[in-house]
């Protein structure tokens, strides 16, 4: 697999909001356009409609590998710092998103595990899981609390590079 690149932070944000079912797909009104620069994370409106104001990005955007469009060159690092990677593990914004995604699947219970894994590989990675990946998740879910495992399952999928790169 070649030619992949990290998604822009807005795309990542929209993807995460969409997975959580909280992305507003309607174009924003004029007022929202005006406010977006200061209030982006609170406003689940699709970024493609909005003015991109990189100089006033939300705090969590610092943790992504941003193309630095407002600077002299648009170069970016392909591997983030340790602090950036930690965002995926412990930042409250991402954790809240993960909990929202998991909430939709929790009622289906452990018996639907295979379907949940397959469905979400399709949703998140646009492919089916391999047999070994499916086996790995079965083993993962065999111990501990289903709800907690479900959080960790989604957190893993959105943290790994396959989600992060287009």
């Amino acid at each position: 697999v070649t030619g992949r690149r990290p998604m822009r932070v807005e795309d990542l944000r929209d993807n995460l909001l969409a997975l959580a079912g909280t992305l507003e797909r309607q174009p924003p009104d004029v007022d929202q356009l005006g406010q977006v620069a200061n209030d982006r994370e609170a406003r689940p409106v699709r970024t493609v409609y909005l003015v991109r104001a990189r100089a006033s990005q939300p705090f969590w955007a610092d943790y992504f590998e941003l193309p630095r469009g407002f600077k002299s060159v648009g170069q970016r690092s392909d591997v983030p710092s340790l602090t950036q990677i930690a965002f995926f593990l412990e930042e409250s914004w991402l954790i809240e998103i993960v909990h929202k995604i998991a909430a939709a699947y929790e009622p289906r219970g452990p018996s639907a595990l295979d379907d949940i894994v397959k469905e979400n590989y399709q949703r998140i990675y646009t492919r089916a899981p391999s047999d070994s990946e499916l086996a790995s998740w079965r083993q993962f879910f065999s111990k501990g609390d289903f709800k907690q495992n479900l959080y960790l399952f989604f957190q893993t999928l959105v943290s790994a590079s396959e989600f992060y790169y287009l």
């Binding site: 630095r68 170069q75 690092s77 593990l89 409250s92 954790i95 790995s136 907690q148 790994a160 590079s161």
Partner: protein, 462 residues
Amino acid sequence: MSITRRDLLRSQLLLLPAIAGAKLTGCSRAVLGQNGPPKAKAKSLVFIHLVGGPSQVETFDYKPELYRSAGKRIAGFNSEKKQSGGTIMSPIVQFKRHGQSGAWVSELLPHLAKHVDDLTFVKSVACTSLEHMQAQLELFTGSIIEGYPSAGAWINYALGRPNGPFPNVAGMHDPLGPPRSLLGIFERGPLPNTASYAVFVDPRKDFGDRDAKSSIPYDAKRAVAQQVNKLRELGAYRDSFYSRRDELFDVSIEVRRTMREHFKPRDYTEEEKRLYGVTKYFENPFADQLMAARDLLEKEVPYIQIHCGDENEPTGWDHHFNIRDMIPMSKKMDQPVAGFLTDLKNRGLLDQTVVFWGGEFGRTPIIDEVGTPEGQPPRGRGHNNRVNTVWFAGAGLKPGMTLGETDELSLSSVRDIVNVGDLWATMLHLLGVDHHKLAFHDKGADISFTKEFHEVIRDILA
């Protein structure tokens, strides 16, 4: 067929470190070769960067002519604003000689003045750019273009040894904001991911339990990291370049756990309060960072980069509008740095550490007439890349000496001029790294931190 690091580990190729190392990193030349590398004089380097470029004529570069010539016009000098010539401005403070070395220090720095016999001044540092971003990038990456590895990444790569659960390089910037060059100065560039910085603002703040929601249990993070790694091994992308990103999860968790445990919020001891001039935590974040740096030095972290101030005028060192803004900034910086030096000395750490202090460039002796907002009298100084006063302290250096000199107005360096690359050649030398051999093969070409013409400043070495 390309192989991953894990494949190498499995196949025990690491039993042949030289071969495996070359395969892993793509390094075209040995960094710390067997052919007589320089002997390390220091275990660690602390780089204190004064963001914006402090005025040398208000700190250490005493120029009596400036007091006499204040108000006179001079021609022939262009600042970054294309201001041609200008009016000489008298320094806002007086200077005195201090210590046995008789070094001149301004009244702004009474605490550092007591340490002059420990310091090695270089008063003739020049760089390429007159602009902050490029000058900062040049100072930390050797290039005015963004994207090249920064000093910490190079040092991490050059030393090539793990530091247990602690990071090899740590960067701390002002809580008000990072320097203008942003992450460019913490850049890893094409170096292997193991050369990454651990960047944080303040370890106690970043790693403390300030936000209950983000205090995810260690076991949960561990489980995610393990699954990420497992999927990487199982997945279709394991040999591609971005799988390297996933390898960082393990490192990140361990480093952050250790740092969090180590930097739990606590009350300062009486001695810390006295040395660093603070009474409570977060009163002066710069002092907190220096204390964190001291703790990291005790854990033998080889490189720590601290940025004092942000990019704005009153809260940084870029005093275009009013040079008197240096007064509060000097108060914020002077005692903590002096206390830091004393603290290291008392703990026996200064003998194995190099401390560097300096900005990205110096300032003009003339008034910045262009940069002042309308309606305000011009009272600041512009950028000057021809002069810059910096100092070193610690292992392997000649204490109490001064190298280089500027002209009578401190407009240009006139003797023993060094480039920022020479500073790094010297610092690398003290860490036992031959800067001429420090290179990395990337996309068909060698990239290097210093240039071929950069040399170790031998005159300041013990």
